[in-house]
């Protein structure tokens, strides 16, 4: 057993901090799971030498220790909480050689907290091309630290970084700037009141509006001397502090950093000229989106069909090979179809995250934010809402989490509230099967009807997101300052390893988190469908046999099973809600699927599969089985009217427990998830009702 040290990785966004993290930890990393914790906490293990292990936390990217978004608050909360088990023994500030000046601002702040702080200068491979050189010994001396010059792209400098980390005890913990020079009187008073604390730390406690677990914030801010400062005076002091820090940094860089502007190539302005062009910029964005969606559907269909048939075969195999009984039935009719319902999503989710992470890694996403800000602001959203709305097409959970970098609370809240309208991948199987059932084959100007219907449903989702955002902006009375500052990073080729790790992490989290719920529901459903109260269920065989005396064996079995299902617990439940949903065109079996879908939409198909397979053992595909369902009057249950009504219900209703849970975490209140649950579901009911009544 060797020793273990805690390391915190900090840095501005777009400095390659996460690449450094990925290089150091590889696949040993784990990401804190939703639902459960508010903060996406990435941590990993790196072996520094034979006896020492480093426990590394990759903190969210931040421009400074003055937090303006939730992600940034996380950083400060950790750095100020000495009692946290993750409190770093050493902080590593990752900087990009091209933005060294601005990146060093954060470095000076972290160092002033009295934590041993190492500096990483990343993207060393870019230096020659950009005409940059640095005087390392000079910088080390003036910044009073050790520096590792690293290229994550070419895997250079990481051994040196590990070696420096091993010797972190030799790092100085002296502050870089003297706060007294900002306002002698104010800071002397502060120090006199709390002589045992680091001055900069006290200053942060006063200025930052974050949760300080063990620091007695109350004691500090209650001291009358410091409360008298108005917000605007505090900000003036913060500005002076920033000026001081830049003076310090500029002095050093004047000698320590050389940039030969002439040798710089200008990829940025050439690409920007096209990609954010007033007209072509939008066309290109639209084309990229089209390509992404097309490829998600085209490329996913092959592995999805394979998964579908494999699980059907597996279920059949379990039924025929295992001895008959409760366990076999649970396995073949509950667990295996349930698992299949999770795994079938993997290809689509993986492809979507592949595209999203490539768009982010290249720096293109910031350009989209720039292009869309004005248009989205009309609806009360922000340019930054684009990322959640696009991610929402995979899954609302990561999408809601992606709203964290929207600084304006009102814009962020509205984005969270409307994101679940975007067509997430869980709605896809519902749409897919219903479209195949009720929308005729055939084409219109070369576009087939079924494809058009799917596109229409996506547009309806986005449209409803925008409309409800607009309504919320007009009705919500929240005053929050509208600040919008977006960095436009340099264009970069995406790093394969980063993209790979993102895809792996997001997909894995989806499978484990959503999977648990889907699996649990499948089992619950099977139990509810396999048992029932009273004689109607337990003596079903006798009752049905007496009712139909002259009937073939096979038909009799079907009748018995149907009778049993009707009188099982779930049948009773479905029957109970039938009066409410029959004006929408649904029967009690769809009712059951609707109820179970409130846990997660994707269980819709699985539920119908479970219900129908319990009802009959006929080896029919679920689609054919659905097509043969009839109403009391003998007409098919699924027709244009009921099919479209059902699709629109799924488009608008809030049927996802995990999303509700994450919204509760992110908004810190049950109010907003309840608004979503009741508001969206009511809307869904009204729309589905009108649709059915008009079309039927």
């Amino acid at each position: 057993m060797g020793r273990s040290i805690n390391i915190a990785l900090l840095g501005n966004p777009n400095t390659g901090k996460t690449s450094v993290f990925n290089r150091l930890t590889g696949l040993t990393q784990k990401v804190g799971n939703y639902p459960g914790i508010t903060v996406e906490k990435k941590e990993g293990i790196c072996k520094l030498n034979r006896t020492t292990r480093a426990h590394i936390i990759d903190l969210p990217g931040t421009y400074s220790l003055n937090a303006s978004s939730m992600d940034e608050s996380v950083v400060i909360e950790l750095l100020l909480n000495k009692n946290s088990k993750d409190f770093p023994d050493v902080a590593v500030v990752v900087t990009d050689v091209e933005n060294l000046k601005r990146n060093l601002l954060l470095f000076t702040q972290v160092k002033d907290l009295g934590i041993p702080t190492l500096l990483v200068i990343n993207m060393a491979d870019q230096m020659k091309r950009k005409g940059i050189s640095v005087d390392l010994p000079f910088l080390e001396k003036k910044l009073d630290t050790k520096i590792a010059l690293v290229s994550t792209r070419e895997n250079q400098g990481l051994d040196l970084l590990k070696e420096l980390l091993l010797n972190y005890r030799q790092l100085s913990t002296q502050p870089t700037i003297d706060l007294y020079t900002i306002d002698q009187q104010y800071f002397e008073n502060l120090k006199a009141a709390f002589p045992n604390q680091k001055l900069y730390k006290l200053w942060l406690v006063i200025t930052q509006d974050v949760n300080f677990a063990k620091i007695d914030r109350k004691r500090v801010s209650d001291a009358t001397d410091f409360r008298t400062q108005s917000e605007s005076e505090l900000k003036r002091l913060q500005q002076k502090e920033t000026v001081k820090r830049y003076q310090f940094i500029n002095e050093i860089l004047k000698v320590g950093l050389f940039i030969d502007r002439d040798s710089a190539t200008d990829l940025r302005s050439r690409l920007d000229r096209i990609l954010i062009h007033k007209f072509w910029g939008y066309i290109i964005f639209f084309l990229i989106l089209m390509t992404v969606f097309q490829s998600i559907f085209d490329w996913s269909s092959i592995p999805q069909d394979f998964i579908d048939t494999s699980f059907a075969a597996l279920s059949e195999l379990a039924k025929t090979r295992l001895p008959e009984g409760v366990f076999t039935s649970l396995l073949a009719e509950g667990i295996i179809p349930g698992l299949g319902g999770i795994i079938i999503f993997i290809p689509q989710i993986a492809f979507l995250f592949l595209f999203i992470s490539i768009l982010e890694e290249t720096g293109y996403m910031s350009r989209v934010v720039f292009l869309m800000d004005r248009g989205l602001r009309r609806f009360g959203l922000s340019g930054k809402s684009v990322i959640p709305l696009i991610s929402g097409t995979a899954c609302a959970i990561p999408a809601v989490m992606a709203t964290r970098n929207i600084e304006n609370w009102k814009e962020r809240l509205i984005t969270i509230l409307v994101t679940p309208f975007t067509t997430c991948s869980a709605r896809l199987p519902v749409y897919a099967i219903l479209i195949a059932l009720v929308i005729p084959q055939g084409s219109f100007f070369g576009l087939n009807y079924q494809g058009l219907m799917l596109m229409f449903l996506y547009l309806v989702g986005f449209g409803m997101a925008l409309i409800s955002a607009w309504i919320l902006t007009k009705t919500l009375k929240i005053n929050s300052k509208s600040y919008f500052v977006v960095e436009m990073p340099n264009y970069k080729l995406p790093l394969l390893k980063n993209v790979g790790i993102t895809v792996w992490e997001k997909t894995r989290t989806f499978v484990t988190e959503a999977g648990k719920i889907i699996l649990a529901i499948s089992i619950l459903l099977w139990v509810l469908a396999s048992y029932g109260p009273g004689k109607d269920f337990s003596e079903a065989e006798q009752i049905v046999t007496e009712m139909h005396l002259n009937i073939e064996d096979e038909a009799l079995t079907t009748k018995i099973n149907a009778y049993k299902l009707e009188h099982s617990y779930i049948g009773i439940l479905g029957k109970a809600i039938e009066p409410v949903i029959s004006p929408l065109g649904y029967d009690w079996k769809i009712g059951i699927a609707l109820i179970s879908s409130f846990a997660a939409r994707e269980v819709f198909v699985g539920t119908l599969a479970t219900i129908y397979s319990v009802e009959s053992d006929a080896e029919e595909t679920i689609k054919n089985r659905m097509a043969s369902e009839v109403r009391v009057d003998g007409k098919p249950l699924f027709n244009i009217a009921s099919g479209i009504s059902l699709m629109l219900f799924y488009a608008f209703a809030m049927q996802c427990m995990s999303t509700l849970a994450i919204v509760k975490k992110e908004t810190n209140s049950w109010k907003w998830p309840m608004v979503q649950l009741f508001g969206m579901t009511l809307l869904a009911y009204v729309v589905a009702f009108s649709t059915y009544q008009i079309l039927a």
């Binding site: 421009y63 400074s64 003055n66 303006s68 091209e98 933005n99 000046k101 601005r102 601002l105 605007s232 900000k235 003036r236 913060q238 500005q239 920033t242 000026v243 830049y246 940025r268 302005s269 920007d272 954010i276 007033k278 910031s366 934010v369 720039f370 292009l371 800000d373 004005r374 340019g383 600084e407 300052k481 509208s482 600040y483 919008f484 500052v485 977006v486 960095e487 436009m488 990073p489 340099n490």
Partner: protein
């Protein structure tokens, strides 16, 4: 001295004065401080938001924020 939102595309200027109370601290920390060089790289439709180069940072801000930053053109 003119407000930043009246700067023309491609023009180079120097920040003269900022209204601290109306600006996010983050913007100040990214280099939006008196004395630093500033230029307008691109405008989105309706001149909002603005894509700027401030000191060495490339960033986008909204027009309403830009109105609180005053610049002087470089000769």
């Amino acid at each position: 001295m003119i407000p930043l939102d009246q700067l023309a595309l491609g023009e180079e200027a120097e920040i003269e004065q900022i209204e601290t109370d109306h600006l996010p601290l983050k913007l100040i920390e990214m280099g939006c401080l008196p004395g630093n060089a500033i230029s307008l790289i691109q405008k989105a439709p309706f001149s909002d938001p603005l894509y700027l180069k401030i000191d060495e940072s490339h960033l986008a801000i909204r027009k309403e924020t830009a109105q609180h930053i005053f610049v002087r053109l470089k000769k």
